[in-house]
Symmetry: C2
Subunit: 189 residues, 2 copies
């Protein structure tokens, strides 16, 4: 690859990384292209050599982060407990590292166009598939339901914990969501 193309690809990657970080922390609307490009080490004008619009970057940023996080979570040595403790951690709540877009941007995405919601839907589907093999107490359709509930406890738990202003309550909430669950209306004995 010629030096120019490699350089352009690197610039693009830096923009996407900055976008993923800043969108997750402040929301799409509150991050200007100016601030974004400064974080990526360039100026405003260079943006449109890489993307047609800010909205296009939003999709790209969500997908890139999902790919990277998905790769980490697919480590075969990772147990469900590890997975829950890593995701539902104070570090994640404080915006250090992963910054899962599904949790940090749920309502932001829900209010935007179909294309972006499709991207979110794909990422969510992938997340549920990733959880499925960890649902060892069930199989078939019940396993799918368990995986979806676990996904909601993780994503929803993190989203709410971030909205809460009370650190103790947030930690209590995260802890409650770390406990694996099964349906209660079954006959156990």
């Amino acid at each position: 690859m010629p030096w120019n193309e490699a350089h352009k690809e690197d610039s693009r990657r830096r923009i996407v990384e900055a976008a993923a970080r800043l969108f997750a922390l402040h929301g799409f609307d509150r991050v200007g292209i100016d601030q974004l490009m400064r974080e990526a080490g360039m100026t405003r004008g260079a943006f449109y050599a890489h993307f047609n619009s800010k909205a296009e970057l939003y999709r790209e940023a969500i997908l890139a982060t999902a790919r990277r996080n998905g790769q980490r979570l697919r480590e075969p040595s990772l147990s469900l407990t590890d997975l829950l403790e890593g995701y539902l951690s104070q570090a994640h709540r404080n915006g250090e590292g992963a910054n899962c877009p599904m949790a940090f941007l749920v309502t932001d995405v829900a209010q935007r166009d179909e294309q972006l919601r499709s991207t979110y839907t794909d990422v969510f589907r992938g997340f549920v598939e990733l959880l499925k093999p960890h649902m060892t107490q069930s199989e078939g359709p019940q396993q799918q339901d368990d995986a979806m509930r676990t996904a909601v406890l993780m994503i929803g738990g993190m989203a709410i914990a971030r909205a809460l202003n009370d650190d103790a309550l947030a930690e209590r909430l995260l802890q409650a969501c770390r406990q694996p669950q099964v349906a209660s209306d079954q006959e156990f004995c």
Copy 2:
């Protein structure tokens, strides 16, 4: 109460109602004071006779909606199943009626100032307290955890269902969250 004051109070109420509706559907940033006041049947200029800033209205709108929804949910005849089915319904997902700010605005709130997050925290605490008496399979600290997990399944489930672009998947998700849960690491027999 003199007619003038009653009239002003009514205007204020209409503004708060419009705000609750529009903020929930489109997000705080994407609703202009212009659009807001038009929905309330006035023009832009009249806004500041009622509120010092748009941010102040945000707090007011969340509190007002929470009070109204809380009152409905405190009906003593309402079972947990009724509660789950009402909240995790397609009507709610489509923005008809309740528009619970906890679900519709989670990440929006998380990205704003401490004062607004405090308001959200108070509302969330009230919601958990409301759920507690319905957690009949547990008591004490375990009951608090069960209530919080149920709150996460409701709020988080609704928030995610709204972000999803696939109606069938969203319905499947809501259905999964409607099943009451208990911890799985207990010994059942």
